[in-house]
């Protein structure tokens, strides 16, 4: 899960990474008051989790007090990739000479953290070509030994960074790594890290993604999940321990495992349809995760039919059947269900479902998807 810039900067500040003075506001009047406290010029930054907020007008420089409220209101009205702006970070504006990129990310193929340093910071550096063309350097970090200063120095000697900045680079990189480790981040990045006229490094932006698999040990982040970003449904699904993938069609799908999710999606698209949602209840799912997932789909009025594609290994098919029965028992839940249920205890599971009129059972993914897509086309 992504943290907001203001959350990430708060972690930076605690760790001792220099950041400009800043405060958060949730309305334009607040923005003006805070801006006066901080002192003009200030930068207003929309706190949304999408990339490209700068291009969309979500980052604005304010020179004078009289502009503050109006520009704040403009930002609050923005909708960037379906997200609305709930809060604005007001930050002391900085003049700087040069900008860098410094980041630590989890390389899943290597199975290690990687430190990345680039002499091209700023908004464009994340575009693939410019990133690759810029002078940059990477280094794999041994998770047991951690990051050491000499490793940062070795990256710096490859580039053109002024040696008078090396100690600051080293300190900031080590602190960034501490943040990455102690928060189970998958990404901790400063873009850009700027050099002021006093030759001091400051983190102008801050981006931290937390490994969502680790949230059980970082419960405070769970409180800070932004429902406007994840959407209400994704948010609910998370609570039930399942994963909700939203699309734009009319067929709600429940599968167990990412592989089956991909296969089901592939086949729906091949038949020129599109799912409304795919809920992955994962391996080892229980009656309650099945029940909750089915409720979520049944409550959604734009969903006209439900497809359930389960191949139980860890998952006990009897628990899936039990979940279906408990939801369909409620009078208002009469959407047609297309089911493929195979694997552990499938025979007894299917027996218990035999009386269910709204249910059709199929033997393969292909037959299942075809029947569901045909139903939607014909009705």
């Amino acid at each position: 899960m992504k943290l907001h810039e203001y959350q990430a900067k708060s972690l930076f500040r605690q760790a001792g990474i220099p950041v400009p003075a800043s405060m958060l506001a949730t309305n334009a009047v607040q923005v003006k008051r805070i801006a006066s406290e901080i002192g003009y010029p200030v930068v207003l930054k929309a706190q949304i989790l999408e990339q490209g907020r700068g291009k969309a007008g979500g980052v604005r420089l304010i020179q004078h007090e009289h502009e503050a409220e109006q520009i704040a209101n403009e930002i609050f009205k923005l909708e960037i990739n379906h997200q609305t702006v709930q809060s604005i970070l007001i930050e002391k504006a900085f003049t700087f000479n040069k900008e860098y990129y410094l980041g630590i990310f989890s390389d899943l193929d290597l199975g290690s953290p990687v430190l990345r340093l680039s002499e091209a910071g700023g908004a464009t550096c994340l575009e693939k070509d410019s990133f690759l063309n810029a002078r940059m350097a990477e280094r794999q970090i041994d998770i047991d030994q951690g990051l050491h200063r000499y490793q940062v120095r070795q990256l710096l000697t490859n580039g053109d960074v002024d040696p008078s900045l090396w100690k600051q680079f080293g300190s900031i990189a080590l602190k960034l790594y501490d943040i990455y480790r102690s928060n189970d981040a998958t990404l901790a990045e400063i873009n850009s890290l700027v050099v002021t006229q006093q030759n001091q490094l400051y983190a102008l932006d801050a981006k931290i993604n937390i490994d969502s698999l680790s949230l059980f040990r970082h419960e405070s982040f769970l409180d800070s999940i932004d429902p406007t970003y994840y959407g209400w449904l994704e948010h609910q699904a998370r609570k039930y321990g399942v994963t909700y993938h939203q699309f734009t069609g009319e067929l709600g799908c429940i599968v167990n495992g990412m592989g089956l999710a991909y296969l089901t999606y592939d086949q729906i698209i091949s038949m020129n349809s599109i799912p409304a949602a795919i809920i992955d209840i994962h391996g080892g799912s229980t009656v309650s995760s099945m029940t909750s997932s089915l409720e979520l789909l049944f409550q959604n009025d734009s969903i006209r039919a439900v497809l359930i594609n389960i191949y139980g290994g860890m998952t006990n098919c009897e628990e899936i059947a039990e979940g279906i029965l408990s939801v369909t028992a409620k009078a208002r839940h009469k959407k047609p269900i297309f089911l493929r249920l195979k694997g552990t205890n499938d025979i007894s599971a299917i027996e218990t479902l035999s009386g269910l009129k709204q249910l059709q059972i199929f033997d393969s993914t292909h037959e299942l998807v075809k029947a569901a897509v045909d139903y939607l086309k014909d009705s």
Partner: protein, 288 residues
């Protein structure tokens, strides 16, 4: 007979008294897998399944008493790193983590420990290893497929069942079926298993089932080109996913999705593997 597990293997279960552990251990007993013991901290000295299987506090105790050399983990995600490290230290040769959704940095520590050991880790988020007529070390559905000379290596667990089902329908048996695990970071990758299968006398053909994300399939394709002489049928799910969809909808890690399914299928074709466009095509691509 097969790689990693054979008639002499002795399987233990970590977390044998938990809900999942008990359920699948009992299945293993019923399908005659060589289950010899299990652990449940604090319950050492008990016997499970009507006195048939001894329970120990630690993996070390279990190994000392039963000579177990394969361990299957049914423990919660937060305990997985601890249990894998315990199994490594106790000298377990083949560790199978059925548990998935293990935190990324935990797995980084596990990878580091694996590099310093002789243990092999299958998973996390793996259905295990199925060797028909010998052992179902994990959670493969019973009777899903018979014995034969085709080996299956799959990233996804549920897709491996799907493929075994299709093979079984076509009357094809397997020497071994392995789910390598579908977590962000896993122990052993495709290449590791291809190397073992190439020299496995019981395997004549290999089916490889990949998916989007990561570069394990690309490394495997390269290895097939260079070192694998046995016929390989490759299938990569997710052809209709675009990178943009994967990055936002099926989001795990944006870098992880730079290698598209198309790049992977092309790599397998270049490597001389037979590419299954649809999952149902796999049987007819196998040499009969």
């Amino acid at each position: 007979m097969s790689i990693l597990i054979d008639a002499k293997s002795r399987i233990m279960v970590q977390g044998i008294t938990g809900r999942r552990g008990r359920f699948h251990s009992e299945r293993m007993l019923n399908n005659n897998s060589p289950l010899v013991g299990g652990t449940s901290p604090g319950k050492g000295g008990d016997w499970a399944f009507n006195g048939r299987i001894p329970v120990f506090d630690t993996v070390k105790d279990c190994v000392d008493a039963t000579n177990a050399d394969v361990s299957v983990l049914f423990v919660p995600p937060h305990a997985t790193v601890d249990c894998i490290l315990e199994a490594i230290e106790a000298g377990i040769k083949t560790i199978i983590s059925v548990t998935g959704s293990v935190p990324v940095q935990d797995m980084m520590q596990v990878k580091s420990a694996l590099r310093k050991s002789d243990s092999v880790l299958i998973g996390p988020n793996s259905p295990g290893i199925l060797v028909p007529e010998i052992a179902n070390a994990g959670i493969f559905p019973d009777h899903i497929v018979g014995a034969g000379d085709v080996a299956l290596v799959s990233r996804s667990g549920t897709l491996s069942y799907e493929v075994l089902d299709i093979l079984n329908e076509a009357g094809i048996g397997v020497s071994v079926a392995i789910g390598i695990g579908d977590d962000p970071i896993i122990g052993m990758d495709f290449k590791f298993f291809l190397e073992l299968l190439e020299s496995d006398p019981h395997t004549e053909q290999i089916v490889l089932v990949g998916g989007p994300g990561g570069e394990s399939e690309l490394v495997a394709a390269n290895y097939i080109m260079e070192s694998i002489t046995k016929p390989v049928v490759a299938y990569v799910v997710g052809e209709n996913l675009k990178a943009s969809i994967m990055g936002s909808v099926f989001s795990r890690n944006s870098n992880f999705f730079l290698n598209s399914v198309e790049r992977k299928t092309n790599a397998f074709i270049e490597a001389g593997a037979l590419l299954a466009k649809n999952i149902e095509d796999i049987p007819c691509l196998l040499r009969r």
